[in-house]
Symmetry: C2
């Protein structure tokens, strides 16, 4: 496994890996890797000839009051995990290399970035879209892998790739959960044991909505209420609970096709998100 710090060297390595029409699967991460990230590496490994990843805690997607400095950075362990999962190329740039003095360009993907995480964190998705575009130029892979846990982020990336004609296939992989249902997240590390227990209500609530739908419930308002009631019973008050047409952030009222139930909840000081596809 080769590790590159300089953008130009990563680019050369990826271009070289693509010779002879070989496919390159790219997994952009902020490190602190868990089984969710590694499932993306495994998916890239299964689909592509060469697997590339990046580890970069992107400052521009954090707001000033957020956890940029506290964000975990276990680089050696991350590199070992990537190697164990068959990653070939890793890009680990510094913030100074990604954002040299004078850098000011930012990408706005429009409406899909506005609600939910975008409302809570107004500069977040511009930071995401911009760094992903930079990474796609630095690591010009054939495929890129994102997790469904960050559902809105996958919509932002797809919107940007479509609108800017970026020649890369976006793959979205299922959420990976603990045995108890908790969606894996690097931020779960911030949870106290009690909070971790409380946080189980997120996936439980989504599961209850899924079951109600399976039993014939087609009212989005009813599913939202089921979710809110279960969260309230656990002492949690969500930032949002939404039922949207799959692939959009458009709320539906009657569920006539595939939808996504998405929610965000602050558990203690830690903001957690989760979602599931229904129907």
């Amino acid at each position: 496994m080769n590790v590159y710090v300089a953008p130009a060297e990563m680019r050369t390595a990826v271009l070289s890996a693509r010779t002879g029409n070989r496919t390159v699967g790219f997994v952009p991460t902020m490190g602190a890797l868990h089984a969710g990230h590694l499932s993306l590496v495994d998916a890239a490994r299964a689909e592509c000839d060469v697997v590339a990843a990046s580890i970069f805690v992107n400052p521009t997607q954090f707001a000033p009051h957020e956890d940029l400095d506290a964000y975990p950075r276990p680089l050696e362990r991350d590199l070992q995990l990537l190697q164990e999962h068959g990653c070939d190329l890793v890009f680990t740039p510094s913030a100074e290399m990604m954002y040299p003095a004078g850098a000011e360009t930012s990408i706005d993907v429009g409406a899909v970035a506005l609600p939910w995480e975008g409302a809570e964190r107004p500069t977040h998705f511009a930071g995401v879209a911009t760094v992903v575009m930079k990474l796609f130029q630095i690591a010009p892979a054939t495929h890129a892998y994102f997790g469904h846990k960050d559902y809105q982020q996958t919509l932002v990336v797809r919107r940007m790739v479509a609108d800017l004609n970026v020649p890369i296939e976006i793959r979205v992989c299922p959420i990976v959960r603990d045995d108890n249902g908790l969606a894996l997240s690097s931020r779960n590390a911030y949870l106290s044991p009690d909070e971790r227990q409380q946080a189980l209500a997120l996936s439980q609530a989504l599961r209850l909505a899924e079951q109600a739908h399976a039993s014939g419930q087609r009212s989005a308002a009813a599913l939202r209420q089921i979710i809110r009631d279960h969260l309230a019973a656990a002492g949690l008050s969500p930032d949002y609970v939404a039922i949207v047409a799959d692939g959009t952030v458009q709320e539906v009222e009657h569920i006539g096709g595939p939808v996504v139930a998405a929610l965000a909840v602050r558990v203690g000081q830690t903001r957690l998100i989760d979602n599931c596809r229904i129907g």
Copy 2:
């Protein structure tokens, strides 16, 4: 010369042209080609193995009240000129192909886009940056050619390319002028004979500033006044007259190195820009 309407076909053609490490020089245009555009094609022809161009009147860089519909579109003549100048590949997409329903992404390059043309036309440079990024993804050339006449546009493109790590070399070519000094522009076609005569004051004013600098004048205020006085004598009142450090939009007061003198003037209904590098 091959002409492509579909982005995917243009992309395949450019990638194929690049095999064997061949260089591809790309000239993005809005058509209505004049000797200024053709000098860019000639520069690409001289420097690169393969020459590509695009003809696309980009709606997103026009404001609602501007001349989008009236903008000249002499496609057959443009294609003939490109062929005569040795162009190999031409991309002539429709607006619907470039901006399908749902497209919303836009690129903001920050401070360099704010003054001058950006102040006059607040959405202009987001439109330019976005379409240029799209074109660079569709036509992944090794080099791209822009004219110094649109000085601020060259700064916008350079800023975007640097900030988003786009792997392309930007070349900026000198302004091409009529024998009488008028900088070539597709919009010169809008000028009446009298206005065309009046418009000569732009390049004359810049030339006077250049001569004053050559004679030792190092005060930017003095050069600006020379330019304003000459325009006023021709009955013209500029939108702006600026003396900036070369490669920036930062006004200088004392001229200690290379600067650019830039101006915009409305002649009748037609807004003209011109500039020259001094020192």
